[in-house]
Symmetry: C2
Subunit: 338 residues, 2 copies
């Protein structure tokens, strides 16, 4: 262990200058003679001095730390492949701006008050939220208290305008459904997640919009709600295979659901895509590598992370003047789609 931590006063003494001058050198102020700067820098090097971040914070304003809050439910699976690229994107932007990330994964039900402290106690400058459900009260609390935040994915419908980044889920589901329609399918099922996330609602909307374009009214029998997991997809598909007039095409709200559905279909000895075509959502790493390869809708997750970070930095200076950001969703054809 280092003996006693050296501080700015020690450096000042050693360099024969005042603390003010050392501080100026540290902060790259132009009001220091080159000679003095060098002298001080040398001592700093020599003694491996690093100014205390907390002491600096206390004098300055911003903390340069942001909290990344990710609520989740016990046993959740769906977002395994979501967080790493998201965090990577966020990190990339924040790093450049010398911001650090405080990470909180919160098992639901969590207590918002506890995490608001991070801001109220001056530890963070604000929040980036991810994986937040539509009825989560946290965004509204932040909004009311004028605490800077950005949400990855839409959240509450009560807030009129708040900063978020999201994928164009409606368009993504629309395009996938449209593909089926153009291929001649008319009985198209939707495996709808049964969680209260906005993206599920939107994928549902995209699906119905496409049907509407072809004058088709959504058939409630073809819309099955289940968990977004493989097991959920399996269960949902089993139900669909039992109805009188089963679908010839299936859009799933997640690739895991789609994989579960594929299992169910193959188990009953139907062929994919010959008997039933299928498209998932998320474009998981494995999609291209299963049999048959799974068509999907890709989100630009890392890009969302970057945009979320940028938007956050923006609202710090412009609390009211901002635009939510919608990133494209891209339909990726693979053999399962027929």
């Amino acid at each position: 262990m280092r003996k006693v931590k050296i501080n700015i006063r020690d450096i000042a003494k050693l360099a024969n200058v005042s603390v003010a001058t050392v501080s100026r050198v540290i902060n790259g102020s132009p009001n220091v003679s080159e000679k003095t700067r060098k002298k001080v820098l040398k001592i700093i090097q020599e003694y491996d001095y690093h100014p205390s971040a907390f002491a600096q914070k206390l004098s300055k304003a911003k903390t340069q730390i942001i909290a990344l809050l990710i609520p989740y439910e016990r046993g959740f699976i769906l977002s395994d492949a979501f967080f790493p690229p998201l965090i990577k994107g966020i990190t990339e932007i924040l790093d450049k701006n010398e911001y650090n990330i405080m990470l909180s994964m919160l098992e639901a039900p969590y207590i918002p008050e506890k995490y608001i402290q991070l801001y109220k106690r001056g530890i963070v400058d604000g929040y980036i939220l991810a994986n937040v459900k539509k009825d989560d009260p946290f965004p509204e609390i932040l909004y009311e208290e004028n605490i800077p935040f950005v949400s990855v994915g839409k959240v509450s419908t009560k807030l009129k305008k708040y900063p978020y980044v999201d994928t164009d889920n409606i368009k993504g589901a629309f395009d996938a459904t449209l593909y089926f329609l153009e291929k001649g399918h008319r009985r198209i099922a939707l495996l709808k997640g049964n969680h209260n996330y906005s993206f599920i609602q939107e994928r549902y909307e995209g699906y119905t919009l496409a049907l509407k374009k072809y004058g088709i009214r959504p058939d409630p029998k073809l819309i099955v709600e289940e968990s977004l997991t493989i097991d959920g997809g399996y269960k949902a598909m089993k139900k669909l295979l039992k109805i009188n007039n089963p679908p010839t095409a299936v859009l799933a709200c997640s690739d895991y659901m789609a994989i579960g559905a594929m299992n169910a279909i193959l188990e009953e000895n139907w062929e994919i895509p010959e008997d039933i075509s299928i498209i998932g959502f998320d474009d998981l790493y494995i999609d291209a590598r299963i049999e048959p390869p799974l068509a999907s809708v890709r989100q630009e997750i890392e890009e969302m992370g970057k945009e979320a970070a940028k938007l956050f930095l923006h609202i710090l200076d412009n609390p009211t003047d901002f635009e939510p950001k919608i990133l494209p969703a891209t339909f990726i054809w693979r053999r399962s789609a027929g």
Copy 2:
């Protein structure tokens, strides 16, 4: 935005006590009369006062923040399913101890010095490292500078004793290989990851140890190094299928490799497990849900996170008196193993 932030002096004035007393109330000191405490608490409530964490840090010692450092390589995939449970485990323990996590995902090659600052500038009390390669200099730097850290997974071989938690990879690979041997297999291939992680070396060791027990010398032709990905497994398996006397059983260093290998095997119209049996590593969510279900070796990732956090808290008080923690790896039989 709140007007001006209220501070301890304001509260003291409002409550008609000294700042010292307010501080005592905040910190739950017993040396305050019940009456005074109530009075102060009421004002604190009323004005929604939250003591500045940084100011507290400056007076107290520890920061109650830990850095979680995760280096990774561009395009890496393997650990998608690793981080969420790991972080969850770490969070659970640290939360209880009122510790926060500062997260840094570092794209290689990263500059260790940059991240050491987090400690030197007093932002964090130390580090938890994950996904660190054997030749990464970071652990050694931390060690030499007496900076508290815990590694998830073994790292450098140069350090004699350092705090880490790990899976018993040797035993895991040993058990899987032994299963094959007991089933009568004698030509058992190893799909070895080509990355410089200690777990790969250890899985290799477990494999050879089991062979040795049966008096079998490892056949270099049956050990193929490739990336830990699906594509890597596919490539490796293709090679193996081309040799004169192909293996009848395959142990892969990751499930993704195993899945790639399965693709290659099925593509050549061999049957799993009839012609070739296969076991992976990691016990991914999808393993039980593909055809045939993939046998694997399970690590207790969330548990590792917990143990890492516990160990970290321990070494903070006992820098030299600690024991590394090895968690069990469990062979999970599924049909692919035969």
